[in-house]
């Protein structure tokens, strides 16, 4: 970090987006950055920030002037060594980005995922049924209605938001069963590492070498099953569509970006539904709203809060200029609650059309796994809507702090069986 005089034409907002105070509740900081102007300057990190919907979206899609290959975190790869070999997708620009993206997109497309739908819906139903029927230890006799109606208390993060993706996604990739418990800590650290070198990064540092080595070992061809996403990526290298050296790094992208994000997306959705009973009732009446409910939760909570770009040239934004070589923080969460774009943005509302939110990003680097996330959500919410009459919070939820992710650490919840 260098000491820099405030740029004269850019409003200064003296905040730390990665402090525990802000991570606990980012909404006031988001509002301050939105209201300061189309772009603001954060002195602590000599960092430019866009928080309004229009500017965030414009920055996301403009890969020509805001490339990703200098890193999509605070660290500028022009000057700093990345903590791991850069991602071929997230941290790459055209032309290098083209082939990995072109290979992975059809593997994760809605048409390719159709073969998983029935299985995942059955898995979700099995998971929810098991929680409702089999959790005798947790079932409270006092709350047991006559006949079979009963109530179950659980931590919805561990029992649902983590359990379901961990049950279906590693299988879909083709991972062997051993060691899957490493996936969440690895992802958590990777998403912390986009922020500054604060206590959250330090917390993960002791295990980086061990977790990175485990993840790298899971990307090898002979480790992966023959019918998963991983095998499909390796097959693309047989056709020469990517190189054999690229294949394991593309598998790594799935393992890094495909677990924590969906866990926290589902957590956000479950919290939103439990704290908005009218919306839960709406979903039960119209289970085909499951995908809308998930996307509305992604808009409302923005599980991925921020990403960075680096200005490749001086870029004018709303009367100010982001100078060449400088990092720009894009506040996806702020854009998704920008009142300039959304009516009553703080309301979680299934009657809203959340289309166009930037919770999955936008443009060339838009989340390539978004259809996987939606299918997971559709399966889990569908099972819950069928089997659960009422969701309610059963205690004070606890945040899990991460430099990039907005996450719940625990969501004590009461499920009233239908």
């Amino acid at each position: 970090m260098t000491t820099t005089a405030a740029p004269t034409t850019v409003p200064t907002v003296d905040v730390d987006p990665f402090s525990h105070e802000v991570l606990a509740d980012p909404l006031p900081m988001q509002a301050a950055l939105r209201d300061a102007g189309p772009v603001a300057w954060i002195p602590r990190y000599d960092l430019y920030a866009v928080a309004r919907y229009d500017e965030v979206r414009a920055t996301l899609v403009d890969w020509q002037r805001f490339p990703s290959s200098a890193g999509v975190g605070l660290s500028n790869f022009r000057y700093e060594e990345p903590w791991r070999p850069p991602s071929l997708l997230l941290e790459a620009d055209p032309p290098h980005h083209d082939a990995p993206r072109a290979v992975l997109a059809p593997i994760l497309s809605p048409r390719a995922l159709r073969r998983l739908r029935e299985r995942w819906c059955a898995d979700a139903d099995d998971l929810v049924a098991g929680l409702l029927d089999g959790a005798s230890g947790r079932r409270s006799g006092a709350e047991l209605d006559h006949r079979s109606r009963h109530v179950v208390e659980l931590d919805a993060v561990a029992a649902l938001a983590e359990a379901f993706p961990l049950r279906v996604f590693p299988d879909a990739v083709g991972l062997p069963p051993e060691g899957r418990e490493h996936l969440l800590p690895y992802g958590d650290h990777a998403f912390n590492a986009f922020g500054p070198a604060n206590d959250l990064v330090a917390k993960g540092a002791p295990r980086v070498a061990e977790l990175s080595a485990w993840v790298a070992s899971r990307c090898a061809r002979d480790v992966l099953s023959e019918d998963g996403f991983g095998a499909a990526i390796w097959s693309a290298s047989d056709r020469g569509d990517i190189t054999p050296a690229q294949a394991p790094l593309i598998v790594r992208s799935l393992l890094t970006a495909g677990v924590d994000t969906t866990v926290h997306g589902l957590g956000a959705c479950l919290y939103a539904l439990a704290s908005n009973p009218a919306q839960w009732d709406r979903l039960r009446a119209r289970p085909d709203l499951a995908r809308v409910a998930f996307d509305e939760a992604v808009r409302w909570e923005s599980p991925v809060q921020t990403f960075f770009r680096t200005a490749d040239v001086d870029v004018p934004i709303g009367g100010s200029v982001v100078p060449e070589g400088h990092k720009v923080l894009m506040l996806l969460g702020a854009a998704n609650r920008d009142p300039r774009r959304w009516d009553d943005p703080d309301a979680f509302d299934l009657a809203r059309d959340p289309s166009g939110h930037v919770g999955f990003g936008m443009g060339l680097h838009q989340c390539i796994g978004q259809h996987v996330a939606r299918l997971e959500a559709e399966a889990l919410l569908g099972a819950l809507a069928r089997r659960v009459e009422r969701l309610e919070l059963a205690g004070e939820p606890e945040r899990h702090h991460n430099n990039t992710l907005r996450a719940w650490g625990s969501l004590p919840m009461r499920l009233h069986a239908a």
């Binding site: 082939a99 072109a102 047989d238 289309s355």
Partner: protein, 328 residues
């Protein structure tokens, strides 16, 4: 309007049409070849593309033609295509040459890419005539990534070969073979030695593609990548008059006027249709087609998936038939 009222609704008109391009420049690039520069009417960003991509262009008289993009993808606001006057063509190229003028508007679909560039330390590009167009951005890209490459470029005569001035800066990487001076492309000499480290990209007329397939039978698989310039067999003509869409889940029928997307029309009567990019790229709005023939304008589906006609992306795709029935 979430109550599923059965009936006919007139969709609100008002969205700007997202599939229009205005001709901003038209230049003669060689004998029988013009280039068109195309932009959004409002100058906005165009959908991203990569070398090998083409767009479907629908001309004023309703014909749709596919043109490779041959401009600079780092310019997000302009497309360039090259168009050969085809003597035996179906009239599309003659229209572009003789009638289409600067400030005229065409509609477009895509971009799509069936000829994508794959990573390789070495490339051999082989162009026949107007087949140079998709290879031009590939040459640029090969240069950019520091690959070793060569271009064999054949044409009837030097004056019929477009973009020679742009290629001149690449010096002896470019090998020109005007047929009237140098005869046919010396494919056998260039391809005699099969190479693991080389990918061959070829675009041009059918006989050239047949010849290069014959000349590479002893090469390892997947090293030859070709794109055939052939008139695509289109189903029913693409239309610019309104059509009807029945939303099967509610039984509602809507009329979709030319200036409105199917997605916007469906939403105007309360259909729940999640979308994201609204450019036919991300795939979020994929919708099952229950009846009718969709007019695909997305960047996602491959030709065989288009032909199946069982799904579409209503943010950009439209209808070839008077009526579509969608699972919405």
């Amino acid at each position: 309007m979430l109550d599923g009222t059965r009936g006919r609704e007139e969709a609100d008109v008002g969205d700007a049409q997202g599939d229009q391009l205005v001709v901003t420049a038209k230049e003669v690039a060689a004998d029988g070849v013009v280039t068109l520069e195309l932009a959004r009417p409002d100058g906005g960003r165009l959908p991203d593309w990569a070398p090998g991509a083409h767009i479907d262009v629908t001309l004023a008289h309703g014909a749709t033609r596919q043109y490779s993009l041959c401009g600079d993808r780092w310019d997000a606001h302009s497309y360039r295509v090259g168009v050969l006057r085809e003597v035996d063509g179906r009239g599309g190229s003659a229209y572009v040459h003789d009638e289409l003028a600067v400030r005229d508007v065409v509609t477009f679909g895509g971009p799509r890419n069936d000829f994508a560039m794959v990573p390789s330390p070495r490339y051999l590009f082989v162009a026949g005539g107007i087949g140079i167009t998709p290879l031009l951005p590939m040459v640029h890209q090969a240069d950019l990534v520091g690959a070793d490459w060569a271009l064999l470029y054949g044409g009837r005569s030097r004056s019929s070969m477009a973009f020679l001035d742009e290629l001149a800066r690449h010096g002896d990487r470019v090998h020109l073979h005007p047929q009237d001076e140098a005869g046919l492309l010396p494919l056998a000499a260039w391809l005699r030695e099969p190479r693991e480290d080389t990918v061959v990209y070829c675009c041009g007329p059918g006989p050239l593609l047949d010849a290069i397939a014959d000349a590479t039978t002893h090469w390892p698989p997947h090293r030859l990548r070709t794109e055939r310039f052939a008139a695509a067999e289109l189903g029913a003509p693409v239309r610019d008059e309104p059509f009807e869409v029945e939303l099967a889940r509610t039984g509602t029928t809507i009329t979709v006027p030319p200036q409105l997307s199917v997605l916007a029309a469906a939403r105007s009567v309360g259909a729940t249709a999640l979308s994201s990019c609204e450019q036919g790229v991300c795939g979020t709005c994929e919708t099952s087609v229950l009846a009718g023939v969709p007019d695909h304008r997305d960047s996602i589906l491959a030709d065989h998936e288009r032909a199946a006609g069982d799904c579409m992306f209503p943010c950009v795709s439209r209808s070839c038939t008077d009526r579509l029935v969608l699972d919405l």
